[in-house]
């Protein structure tokens, strides 16, 4: 059975917040809540289904909820449900140029302005080339604690193959900044490239690569391979009326 694609909701603020009444945050010693600040991703990494999925719906490649709405949802959960840890499920929290960075900062600023700086913690996912010290400092003031990055490859050829549109130097720079700021971070990379022979394979480059060596002490390493089906680790992305199926197979 094939259902038609749902209509895009351009203004995400009109959607109701998730109904969390059945969730027993109060009995957990340190509850966490998943939050979505946006939907979609403008990048076109060749292994990822996020952009093709949202592109097929039409509309902007990334839609943002208003910072106020995001911050209010978090603060409501914190004040009324005692949730201190928030895990943003956005595919790339900082994607979308300067406006997206300002959007992220505004969320953190609103949390701090409400008097909850240091009272809650949140985690985001982003690309290494979006890591900026000043931006992260602002986000930390609102509670940023952990960053996940999809590094995918430590060598230039591997990044080109994956259409990541970045160079390994971005990874190194990001690592330096994250360590300097004392943020915890972890990263995933693609072990196996479908378009390379083993003799030219990125696995060797990654394993012996500068990125991996320099990050090895602070972050558990998570090897992936692009779009394989065996793992059963496929994820569904987002939720709500127009969020459907974006397969980001881990292996």
């Amino acid at each position: 059975m094939v259902a038609p694609l749902a209509k895009v909701v351009e203004n995400l603020d009109i959607l109701p917040r998730p109904d969390r009444r059945s969730i027993d945050y109060e009995s957990h010693p340190m509850p966490t809540a998943s939050v979505l600040g946006s939907r979609g991703c403008p990048w076109d990494c060749f292994f990822c289904g996020v952009r093709p999925f949202y592109e097929s719906l039409g509309g902007p490649l990334r839609r943002l909820r208003s910072p106020r709405e995001v911050a209010d949802e978090m603060l409501e959960l914190h004040v009324n449900r005692k949730v201190p840890i928030f895990l943003f499920q956005d595919d790339d929290f900082l994607a979308g140029g300067k406006n997206a960075k300002l959007w992220a900062i505004e969320i953190a600023d609103l949390i701090a302005a409400a008097g909850f700086a240091g009272e809650l913690a949140f985690k985001i996912s982003c690309r290494s080339d979006e890591i900026d010290e000043e931006i992260l400092r602002r986000l930390m003031a609102g509670g940023l604690t952990h960053v996940y990055m999809g590094v995918e490859s430590g060598d230039e050829e591997g990044l080109i193959n994956m259409n990541k549109r970045m160079k390994p130097e971005s990874h190194l720079r990001a690592g330096r900044i994250l360590k300097k700021l004392g943020l915890s971070f972890d990263f995933g990379f693609m072990m196996v490239d479908p378009f390379l022979h083993i003799s030219q394979h990125s696995a060797k480059h990654i394993i012996s690569g500068r990125v991996y060596r320099r990050w090895m002490d602070g972050s558990p390493v998570l090897p992936h391979a692009a779009l394989r089906r065996h793992s059963g680790e496929a994820q569904t992305g987002g939720g709500g009326p127009d969020a459907g199926y974006c397969v980001r197979a881990r292996l």
Partner: protein, 172 residues
């Protein structure tokens, strides 16, 4: 990617479960071996990757009314994470070197070397898991309400087996 793989006759599976053959048959062997060897480490709640992600997250929390992880504990955790990564790295490199230097006709029938690597990795993981347990007890010896390992796999960020959303279900 799909179009290219189809053109090369390597596309397998269906839209919901895409799969493909690698360009080099040796990589198919490597891939299958890698899954078998690292599945628990990387993709289960009992796996070291899950535990280290959570513990490193916990170690960087700066929340009030929560006992902080000390600098000594944080250093210890960083060391354990590093050892775990280096062991996995060593295992992977050995496998890639072996596959690269061994004819496919032999690889198809003789997996003893790869099986030995898997056994080595598993032994090391057992050792690391014990060390993680000791670290965990050290950090939580006062029974404080630190969150415990909040990780990722099996869509969970914590060992807590109560409410799934409260425990971070869906976190990635």
């Amino acid at each position: 990617m799909k179009r290219r793989l189809e053109a090369e006759g390597r596309m397998l599976g269906i839209a919901f479960e895409p799969d493909y053959k690698f360009l080099d048959p040796k990589l198919d062997i490597f891939y299958e071996w890698m899954i078998a060897t690292f599945y628990e480490r990387n993709f289960t709640n009992q796996g070291l990757c899950h535990m280290f992600r959570g513990l490193n997250f916990e170690a960087s929390l700066r929340l009030p009314r929560r006992n902080r992880v000390s600098d000594a504990q944080r250093s210890s955790l960083r060391y354990l994470t590093s050892v775990c990564n280096r062991v996995a790295c060593y295992t992977l490199r050995c496998a890639v070197d072996h596959l690269e230097n061994t004819p496919l006709s032999i690889l198809e029938h003789d997996r003893r070397y790869l099986e030995g690597l898997t056994a080595h990795e598993k032994r090391e993981e057992t050792q690391r898991t014990n060390e993680v347990g000791q670290y965990y007890n050290w950090v939580h010896e006062d029974n404080s309400e630190l969150p415990g390992p909040v990780g990722d796999f099996d869509k969970s960020w914590t060992f807590y087996e109560g409410d799934r959303e409260a425990a971070g279900v869906g976190a990635a």
